[in-house]
Symmetry: C2
Subunit: 263 residues, 2 copies
DNA sequence: AAATAAAGTTAGATTATACAAACAATGTGC
DNA sequence: GCACATTGTTTGTATAATCTAACTTTATTT
């Protein structure tokens, strides 16, 4: 058994292999470094914010801005971000690939936890935050196969494929629907445990048909019907519910809904 | 997302609950600390060595003796080992419980990796070394249930139950058998990848019937018959193969052999 | 028992990650 | 375009985990 110097060791970049359109340099990042890259990817790409700042990153990661500045300098030395004093922060192509791999691992583990171990979707984030840092390409490839190469995780977020591609479909939110329109819930925009528990309470589930019965002209409150029950929700809430057209069989598979019998 | 101070934070011991015969104090150990406790447990209990030394520990953990001395002082301050300069090293009861939990996690993950993800037994150790440090009681309990509460891991080692008990059966080795005796392979004494690959090569598998056809008087080489094939093995090799009497149905379940159809 | 070998410890240095407090740059309001 | 707020950086400090080199203690051998 070797407890080793995994987080301490010097960087040894090694060109690995070229597949599809990206070149991957294998290197061992510390868990902290992986978290910084993941945060940067999320803040630069998933939200539509143009430039990410030190403060915002610090808030997102639960550290102080000074710490972020320090880390950015180290990430720059390792060619993972391009960044200059008071300037813009951006991931290098290589770092972006690495960050996508971490997200892939996170979402595959979340899928496993919900589908096979019976966790609810609001319980899995914390655990997946740890599992995502386990280093083994073989492991994640086999997990992917075990799960049947899912494209969507339990929150409705896209799982990038092995070659780093998000097979995205355009997303609409429940707040975009007009009166008397129907749609199917396909995901959520807020993955906090408190929001997810609220969604559960309200009775909404992935794959569920939603009918917009009415919208109050005065305060824009939305009345929807699900499972024959009528409930009232806010615009703020509706803006975090992703919806799509009626699900095709393939998408049902993606969501793993056909697997609930497993447990 | 919070990358947090998990490994950095001060110890906050909190008395948790008393169950069966042990009181568990919840505390957050760093991965390194967990590895030291695990190594101490292995060296003090699994092998029959009376006293563990700094050198031996250092060798086992892949660090220098000086590092071990440092760490022992810190573990003593946290009431995890009892130890005095140049004196004997031993785990406190609480630390022993924590170490057993780590071993439990390790062996459950190994079981999962072999049974469900199709890894060979010589591939799983490294990955389980990482997975064992994921902190979530809920996770490991659910994994345990998912696997059907196995008592034996892919190497034939005992998996402690949730309350820290190894449900041990006395172990005999193949080298203890006499001519014309038969037995069933139930485990191995050496978990190194090289040994396990050798076992695979020879054609031995857990649960397999073994017939000792003969033992050379001159050099004690053993001739065994498995699956109708006759092979010759050394005493050294035979001493690392654990055997038992014919398997009862229950033990078949423990080994997970009835599950191979899953993959 | 003295000499030597082995085992264990201390001291000082290093790296990764974090913080607080002080400081510097950038941006905004009027 | 100055005053002030916001944002970002530097400096100095701390802890966890490691190392090397020098030193001390214990054990073994003759």
């Amino acid at each position: 058994m070797c407890i080793g110097k995994l987080p301490t060791q010097k960087l040894g970049f090694a060109k690995n292999e070229t597949k599809f359109c990206r070149t991957v340099y294998t290197t061992t990042l510390t868990q902290t470094e992986e978290n910084y890259l993941k945060a940067l990817l999320k803040l630069t790409e998933e939200s539509a914010i143009p430039a990410v700042g030190t403060n915002e990153l610090a808030l997102h990661l639960g550290v102080k801005p000074a710490t972020v500045t320090d880390m950015l300098k180290r990430l720059r030395d390792k060619a993972l971000v391009s960044y200059e004093k008071y300037g813009k922060i951006s991931l290098t192509d290589n770092a972006r690939s690495l960050a996508i791999d971490v997200i892939r691992k996170h979402r595959l583990w979340e899928t496993f936890l919900c589908r096979n171990l019976g966790f609810s979707w609001h319980q899995v984030h914390e655990i997946a935050e740890q599992l995502e840092h386990v280093q083994s390409v073989e492991l994640i490839d086999r997990l992917d196969a075990f799960l049947g190469f899912p494209k969507i995780d339990p929150h409705g977020d896209l799982i990038p494929s092995k070659d780093g591609v998000f097979h995205a479909r355009p997303k609409r939110t429940l707040s975009m629907l007009g009166v008397s329109q129907t749609a199917v819930m396909v995901g959520v925009g807020d993955n906090s445990a408190s929001f997810l528990q609220y969604v559960d309470e309200v009775g909404l589930r992935l794959g569920m048909d939603i009918w917009v019965k009415g919208i109050q002209p005065y305060d824009a409150l939305i009345e929807i019907v699900i499972d024959g029950k009528s409930i009232t929700i806010s615009q703020k809430f509706a803006a975090q519910i992703f919806v799509g057209a009626k699900l095709a069989d393939q998408e049902f598979l993606d969501l793993g809904l056909d697997r609930e019998g497993d447990l």
